[in-house]
């Protein structure tokens, strides 16, 4: 038996990637936000032992792959994984698995629920066709552990601080703690330069007298990040987005714009550079 008749492109779409050893495949699993339960891990171990070479590979985007599966065993291995709700991942020109940091579930800096967001985005976008590969990441705060800015679309939690004069002990710590020098003192008043502020919450967390409070909480949307042969960090689309429906509309518009205007093999960010960030910003933000 040979594998000449296998549709390699269709298999890639379903997360089964041919290795250089042509009869063997890597199975990329659908691991949203890097979360697996122990039942799933047990089954992965069983499948890797039985059909692979007893080894798994952790990808750079929180993914898990079982390598060295002979093509004649792929179907059986896939069914075994699907029995416990472990689906296959994706490869090729489409929307990939959503990456997420732990977020406000467990992290003290986390501002948004990244897991919930990643799940919602996954349900809406996973495996949808795009001109080139398309990656999304959700990160809980501007510490950016999930590298939102290296993704085609990156969602980041953030807060806008506000200074309450009557609470302030004038200790100046905010000025020193702010990583972006966005806080300054003028006529005995502390002020925020919002152009410099990255919405990180270090000032509100550090302030000894609760004089810096969270005025707003929300999302920061980054578009057009990519690594690969021509790396490009994502561009911040606009200021803090408070309402989730507004965020969702902006994401949808960005994806649709890319589907319409992106050229084959052209990443979202490179399309943005070709057309111009300002023009795209105007189109996306129009009426939203």
């Amino acid at each position: 038996m040979t594998n000449n008749r296998l549709d390699i492109t269709a298999m890639k779409k379903m997360g089964m990637i041919q290795q250089k050893q042509k009869d063997f495949f890597a199975m990329r699993l659908h691991v949203v936000g890097g979360d697996l339960n122990t039942e799933q891990l047990q089954r992965i171990i069983e499948v890797a032992d039985k059909y692979g070479k007893g080894q798994v590979h952790l990808s750079t985007r929180q993914g898990l792959e079982i390598h060295n599966i002979h093509y004649t065993k792929l179907e059986t291995a896939r069914k075994s994984l699907e029995e416990i709700n472990l689906k296959m991942g994706a490869c090729g020109p489409r929307i990939r698995i959503i990456v997420a940091c732990p977020g406000n579930d467990t992290c003290r800096w986390g501002i948004i629920n990244t897991k919930k967001m990643a799940k919602e985005l996954d349900e809406k976008y996973f495996r949808k066709e795009t001109p080139h590969k398309f990656k999304l990441a959700v990160t809980g705060c501007p510490n950016n552990c999930a590298k939102a800015t290296e993704n085609d679309i990156g969602i980041m939690g953030g807060i806008l601080p506000e200074w309450i004069k009557d609470e302030c002990s004038k200790c100046n710590l905010c000025i020193y703690a702010c990583p972006k020098n966005a806080i300054y003192k003028e006529n005995d008043q502390y002020k925020l330069n919002e152009d410099k502020c990255i919405y990180c919450s270090i000032c509100t967390s550090s302030c000894p007298s609760e004089a810096w409070i969270r005025k707003k909480e929300g999302y920061i949307l980054h578009i057009g990040g990519t690594m690969g042969k021509s790396p490009r960090l994502a561009s911040k689309l606009c200021g803090l987005i408070e309402e989730k429906p507004r965020l969702n509309i902006l994401i949808e518009k960005a994806v649709q714009y890319y589907k319409k205007h992106g050229q084959k093999k052209e990443r979202f960010g490179h399309m943005i550079d070709r057309i111009g960030l300002e023009e795209i910003r105007e189109v996306l933000l129009d009426g939203v």
Partner: protein, 80 residues
């Protein structure tokens, strides 16, 4: 402003989290309401130590900037 400082510790060059551990140890040796002075580096230290001190229920009375380093004046919390 003058402070009645019971203990002064120099944590320049001491990285996270040991700078906070040493701050905590110093606070353990004084009474509630008493004051210590802690010298810290700029960067990670000044971002993390004050926040942790605050979370443990102590009060930061003053912060001095001495160029590349900082001095925190910390008052031990009452219910410590």
């Amino acid at each position: 402003m003058e402070f009645d400082i019971k203990k002064s510790i120099d944590l320049l060059g001491v990285i996270c989290p040991m700078n906070f551990v040493k701050t905590k140890a110093a606070l353990a040796h004084i009474k509630p309401g008493e004051i210590i002075e802690v010298k810290l580096d700029e960067g990670e230290s000044i971002i993390n130590v004050p926040r942790s001190v605050k979370e443990e229920g102590h009060k930061i009375l003053k912060v001095f900037n001495d160029g590349q380093s900082f001095r925190l004046i910390i008052q031990k919390g009452s219910d410590q």
